[in-house]
């Protein structure tokens, strides 16, 4: 199915795309068909800067399990940072 649902996260940071590093302005998060991963549906992350055009994008397609593991790992890494840093 096409899920259509998309979470939009305003972003501050950088990503490295096909043309090198660029400043990010947004992350799109959605569970839908992948373009490349061998799965019917994946958790897709598009790290983008629309002001720089559609090719300013770092794309990741993860299985649902990998996505959940990643979400936990991100929280763990942030919690492990020294007080005041994260």
């Amino acid at each position: 199915m096409c899920t259509y649902s998309t979470e939009h996260v305003p972003a501050t940071g950088s990503g490295k795309g096909a043309d090198g590093w660029f400043r990010l302005s947004e992350v799109s998060v959605y569970f839908d068909h992948p373009a490349h991963a061998l799965a019917d549906h994946t958790l897709n992350l598009d790290f983008i800067n629309p002001a720089k055009g559609p090719s300013a994008r770092v794309a990741v397609e993860l299985t649902a399990q990998t996505a959940r593991d990643l979400a936990k790992a991100i929280e763990t890494a942030l919690a492990a940072a020294p007080p005041g840093l994260a």
């Binding site: 096409c2 998309t6 983008i48 090719s55």
Partner: protein, 248 residues
Amino acid sequence: MNEALTAETVMMKAHDGAEVEAYLARPDGVESFGSVVVIHHLPGYDSATKEITRKFAAHGYAALMPNLYHRDSPGASPDDAAAAARAKGGVPDEQVVGDAGGAAAYLRGLPGSNGKVGVIGYCSGGRQSFLVACSLQFDAAVDCYGGAVVHVPEGAPASMKPLIGMSENLSCPLLGLFGADDQFPTPAETAELSRTLDTFAKPHEFHTFNGAGHAFFSVDRPSYRVEAAVEGWDKIWAFFGQHLAAGE
């Protein structure tokens, strides 16, 4: 049928007079042919859908697939363009109708066109095929597992409306190809659509394949189901052969 064809990228007049990119495939050595507007799926104007477009030409039809994402992402790779379109909330229905109408006009203007034009779409394009056939005059339409026709899924853009209320305006016979295991649309939804079309005496032919879910035609995805796909293509050739009168 010798399956010889010519395929190329062209520019066509689309919604609101915009010039957009489209992929054209034409049969070679055929004096008169029917035509098909191909509507790509949400992942965009990609190689897999271009392959489908060429398949129609190999079977004697001219086929044109407009790039629904071209306006905002000219020159971008299909996946980048699809992501950009998604980030903007998708393509408005009125633009899809305008682009498909432009594609149909382009096809009718080709030397050798017999004037008959069908429309086919896959996944989101299946929904859009129904939309277009309820909005413009076509000779035949095929909806391949288009969701959000009867019910719009949770989280869809607010601009996306169910289309079943447009059934009375369906302009041509409709072939529906669905998977029994699909959740969008469910077999219950396609049955509801069939009943509604019956109410308005709209000719339609629905097939729901066991052992298949969504996107069973997609040869480059794990959802591919060879039995449903092969039988589905046979249904398409018979349907377009009947309504578009193209040489086989």
